[in-house]
């Protein structure tokens, strides 16, 4: 069993979002980078759990990014995983990124590819589905449970107003969300061993770019809160009805 886990680097969740160059670029100055939480807490940790249950499982991590993403890959390797691959390219186009992952996966002998549900910066929720299509594999998104049963998988997927449980053949792409696994803190042994785990750097495959970001905007600031006294709940009801028109 060989699992490829897709790792993306995102700004820390407390980052103040700002833009430069005439609102065309995300301002990365002073930004703390983290592993995209969906990739880390759910996709990677679930893969590690599968390896703990069956030590013959091999886990590879993959990221598409410049050299400055290596700190994040080492962090991921400190949690677990046998080796990592960095595709040396920078892009925010999901199709370009998916093409790189698919190119590695195509000849890598993987049975499973895990991604996070989405990244918390571009929120595209696109890479997993694109990789699956490029490989012509089944794809289950927004998974909250994943169990291996021989050469098939049982997956629970949560969606608007309910859940569905599937049985799917391998190879398979799964995007993971909360429920899949619990967040872990890397231990000292993990951090030490991460330094010596192989990190292979490869050059990108030729791929099309289908979209381009032209500018960013911040939402207009809120007008300010209207406070209502705790014994004036009728007034709040009136405001919600007459002013906000939401009830």
């Amino acid at each position: 069993m060989k699992i490829l886990v897709c790792i993306s680097r995102t700004p820390d969740t407390t980052t103040k979002i700002a833009f430069t160059e005439n609102n065309t670029k995300f301002d990365t100055s002073g930004v703390q980078w983290i592993i995209n939480p969906y990739d880390e807490w759910y996709a990677l940790v679930r893969a590690i759990e599968l390896k703990e249950a069956d030590p013959s499982v091999v886990i590879h991590l993959i990221t598409v990014g410049g050299q400055d993403t290596e700190a994040i890959i080492r962090k991921a390797l400190a949690l677990g995983g046998d080796e990592a691959i960095r595709v040396n390219a920078e892009s925010h186009d999901s199709f370009f990124i998916a093409s790189q992952i698919a190119a590695v996966a195509r000849n890598g002998g993987y049975d499973l590819i895990f991604t996070g549900k989405e990244t918390i910066d571009y929120n595209g929720a696109a890479v997993g589905g694109m990789v699956a299509e490029l490989l012509d594999w089944p794809y289950i998104n927004q998974a909250t449970r994943f169990e291996l049963k021989g050469n098939t998988a049982q997956i629970t997927r949560e969606m608007e107003g309910g859940a569905e449980e599937y049985e799917a053949p391998l190879p398979l792409v799964v995007s993971c969300q909360k429920g899949m696994a619990e967040q872990r803190i890397p231990n000292m042994k993990g951090i030490m061993s991460a330094r010596t785990k192989p990190l292979k750097v490869i050059e990108p495959a030729a791929a099309d770019v289908l979209t381009a970001v032209s500018r960013f905007d911040l939402p207009p600031p809120k007008a300010g809160v209207k406070l209502v006294a705790p014994d004036q709940v009728d007034e709040l009801v009136r405001l919600l009805h007459e002013e906000a028109k939401v009830i």
Binding site: G129, M130, N141, Q142, P230
Partner: protein, 320 residues
Amino acid sequence: MSVLAFVDTAEGKIKKGSLEALSYASQLAGVLNTRSEALVIGETQEDLTQLGKYGIAKVYHVQNAPSVFDSQLYTKIAADAVSAAGAKVLVFPGTSNGKALAPRLSAKLKAGMVSGVVQLPELNNGFAVKRSVFSGKAFSDVAILTDIKLIVLNPNAWPVSSGEGSAEVIAVQTAHASSALKLLNTSRTSGKVPLTEAEIVVSAGRGMKGPENWGIVEELADVLNAALACSRPVADAHWRPHNEHVGQTGIAIAPNLYIAIGISGAIQHLAGVNRSKTIVVINKDPEAPFFKAADYGIVGDAFEVVPKLTAALKKFKGLS
């Protein structure tokens, strides 16, 4: 050429997000001077001529497709429909199925896709779509560079608009009829409004002290016919199921009204709820950061304020 909307269904019923996609597709078709059409895959009990009410001229109904949602198979079916319809813009609801299908189809057709879309495209200079990024903390304009364009809407970002009209329904048979997936089980949170579709959401945090105190939160939600949500620590402590966890690492929502009870308003929480149209905060701490993001606020003890608010709403609705 046409604008084609994908109609996502659950057990044959059209989801709310699909109505948003149909409305968006028709508006866009108006701007582009073309017609809007719809694609329905699998059995449905709905009268599809009624999609005309949302401005749809023609519905392609792929009747013999398996009802189990299999993105691999549905992509092949959808690709056939795209070429049959000569569709140039494809509109998807921001539902779970929409988010599984759109990227696959994008890769299959090598057609650019933008998700989290909140507005009609800007057509002055190419085709640029405004979308939500950084978990609702910013917007970005993204140009789609290919001939065929895929748009995935943000849930609750586009209003459903309906009028008069009847659509022509074309029954389609597909050769892609067998799925590798087996659906073992489906569970519905029955009777309740799905969180991402809800117009009103009542949400509570650690200020509720424990799961045994959720009764007053549920009663408030009941009068408002609202969905329930919670902050992350509440779900992590198993006070509430994790499918109620909203925020940057949970579910992102954009209801008309979001009522936050005993939630401090941490940046990660706000990231998932800041697209709500109106925010009401009930917190005993006047310094709680949530008040800065709120439209209305009550500084007070939730255990006193919430039952009073429920009573006032019952009176307002003529329920007591």
